[in-house]
Symmetry: C2
Subunit: 404 residues, 2 copies
């Protein structure tokens, strides 16, 4: 790829603008009720606690917090993360296995750098998290879409991988309140899925940014806990504290850790030490035990508001399942409607959503769309869903015929 006098890497041809980001730009128009972006509610940001922690870190250890630091991350935060992973998803974790990353998106990038070769298969859920497709794509894998249902990928599809896609490097799995569909994997499916992975000798990356955001029932034991040497686990502070600090972590099987660390050093030397110390200061004494339940309660009320509004306003033939946690509803429109084609009309009408097509590695479903229920208040959610209902009804009645 030539942009004279520059010759770009072959991979650059595969890097394309983020559809979601382009949509978000449109939806920055004032007055738009956006259910598009996966932005946590700013009401959940612990502003005063962060302010006090900044003050404390810059008073107690400014010279250390502002200096270059270890690529592995701030040792106390690594210890905290190891204990957290153990208690949250049951994965025995030594602090030496924890790498602090610049958001869990960086974890995905490092995984891609470490494991993807041009043309080597990487199996993903159907649909899957768009940001992971974007992170892996520059490393030129060949994506394999796993047949998936409302409980997650089909274990039989995993058993078939060695024949279908020999040399599959890993599966990318999101057990809890998946972005975009909101579905959670039942424990029985996890058992079957990991058993199939072990039988097929295909390791996996378990991405868990939403696991803390359950509404009624803890989703329980994770995937890597079932096969520790075959699982890389990704955690994040973005949904439970603040995305603006860009803090996440990777737990890697010990033999992989040194290479992962080298990838991290090459990428940005280390994640900001200041940010790590401030977050550690906030969470060290059990802050999250009080804080996360508040987020759950807030999001659950929003989920309920959206569920009720969808029931009330969406035309017959729309399908969805109310999510048990996380941030998203996944709606399937009636036959003949196309979520991407309808988006301009929706935006003109004052709302935004993300067309579901962006989340498929293959064969995008034009009838799917994703709605976030955590950015707007319940009143605004009701207003937004009412508008969505109107747009869909008009489209069904032909006053805004979708493009074919």
């Amino acid at each position: 790829m030539l942009i004279a006098p520059w010759t770009l890497a072959r991979r650059a041809a595969r890097m394309n603008p983020s559809i979601i980001r382009e949509i978000l730009k449109v939806t920055e128009k004032p007055g738009i009720l956006s259910m598009a972006g996966g932005l946590p509610s700013a009401d959940t940001f612990p502003i005063e606690a962060l302010k006090a922690a900044c003050e404390k870190v810059l008073t107690d250890s400014p010279r250390e917090a502002l200096q270059y630091a270890a690529s592995e991350g701030f040792a106390p935060l690594r210890e905290w993360a190891a204990a957290r992973v153990k208690s949250q998803v049951g994965l025995e974790t030594h602090p030496d296995q924890v790498l602090i990353t610049s958001g869990s998106q960086q974890g995905l990038d490092l995984v891609g750098k470490l494991l993807c070769d041009q043309g080597a298969p990487v199996a993903v859920e159907t649909p899957t998290y768009l940001g992971a497709l974007q992170a892996f794509t520059p490393y030129e894998p060949q994506f394999v879409s796993l047949l998936s249902d409302g409980d997650g990928p089909d274990p039989e599809a995993v058993r078939a991988l060695p024949q279908l896609a020999p040399g599959t490097r890993f599966m990318y799995l999101l057990p809890n309140y998946q972005n975009p569909t909101g579905r959670v994997m039942p424990q029985a499916r996890r058992d079957a899925l990991v058993a199939a992975a072990q039988a097929a000798k295909i390791p996996f990356v378990e991405d868990n940014p939403y696991g803390d955001l359950w509404f009624d029932e803890d989703p329980g034991r994770g995937l890597a806990a079932r096969w520790p040497e075959g699982g890389i686990y990704l955690g994040s502070f973005s949904k439970i504290l603040t995305p603006g600090f860009r803090l996440g972590y990777v737990v890697a099987p010990k033999p992989l850790y040194p290479k992962l660390l080298q990838a991290k050093q090459a990428a940005d030397l280390h994640t900001p030490g200041f940010n790590q110390r401030v977050v550690y200061e906030v969470i060290r004494d059990g802050f999250l035990d009080q804080h996360i339940p508040k987020i759950r309660a807030l999001y659950k009320a929003n989920r309920d508001a959206m569920a009720e509004a969808l029931q009330q306003h969406l035309p017959e033939g729309c399908e969805w399942r109310a999510p048990l946690g996380g941030m998203f509803f996944w709606i399937r429109l009636p036959e003949g409607l196309d979520a991407m084609a309808l988006l301009p009309t929706a935006v003109d009408s004052g709302i935004a959503y993300v067309p579901g097509a962006a989340f498929f590695a293959h064969d995008p479903d034009p009838r799917a769309l994703r709605l976030s229920f955590v950015t707007l208040t319940p009143d605004r959610i009701r207003e937004g869903v009412a508008i969505l209902g109107r747009v869909l009804n008009e489209a069904l009645n032909g006053s805004h015929a979708p493009t074919p």
Copy 2:
């Protein structure tokens, strides 16, 4: 590369532990006088200004600072950087060309991702910045070492590149107080070098983390200013404010920007918005005009202390040039001495340095070593250099015979 059940990417075989990091671990032993790491003096960190800025950002715009943010970076900081690049190195820069990165190390990683293909030549100085070799290596370029002297790479070597290494993607150049040698490119060399680059149609990446750290004379106009469409420019806040915030920026020719931005999105979505706003708050009203001269004065006094101590303590046959800025002395030992082989003795004697061999893409010079003069105080520098002199003299006198 197999670490069962994982198959690693081919590139992983080329990722090795950072020698400098391994050395730094050794030198964390208490009591070691380390002249190894390139750590800015913590005395230069503007702790009170940062504290006030954290407080202000979390008071005035907490919901924005803690939320997901634009991948391009915080708009006012991009505007500031554009104006800065113009005034500092004479490169006309529009804010739309500025991408805020997680340290300039990330700029190097993104450049590698965007421009390097397996086996495609990338030309580097001899020696060059180790971190850049580490950032580019995972993208599997074939490094070409440019013949270089005390003024920088030889323009004739650049003219020969199209024959010697056809398809060279770019040159990686450090005009100011290069890490590791400390040398600055005279303006005449810059003219000749960029003319040769244009004639050979080979663009370049200009890395300038040390440009502000001149002692007596501003090093002046940069390289990209001479050929804006053929230069990517990297700037950093690490040496003039704090490395612990991990903030740098890339200025790219406009046609390259969209792909660079996509690489950034895939890598970590965006650099922490909080950090960007805090730094902007500190620098927006001319803070650096007062602050940078203080850093220069401090480092100049340290440079003078080290120059005097080297003169006094180093054995005959050692060669160096006192740098006119930056953070490093580059010492060439007398024939027969090997800086890597001597390092354990040096550490046992209470000092540390970085063997120069790590900074060469090819044909490492075993006689070179790098000393930082910005981490220790002048008194400790004199102490450390005296020990280095003793170690070298003993080695020359055979009491610590270097391994061959």
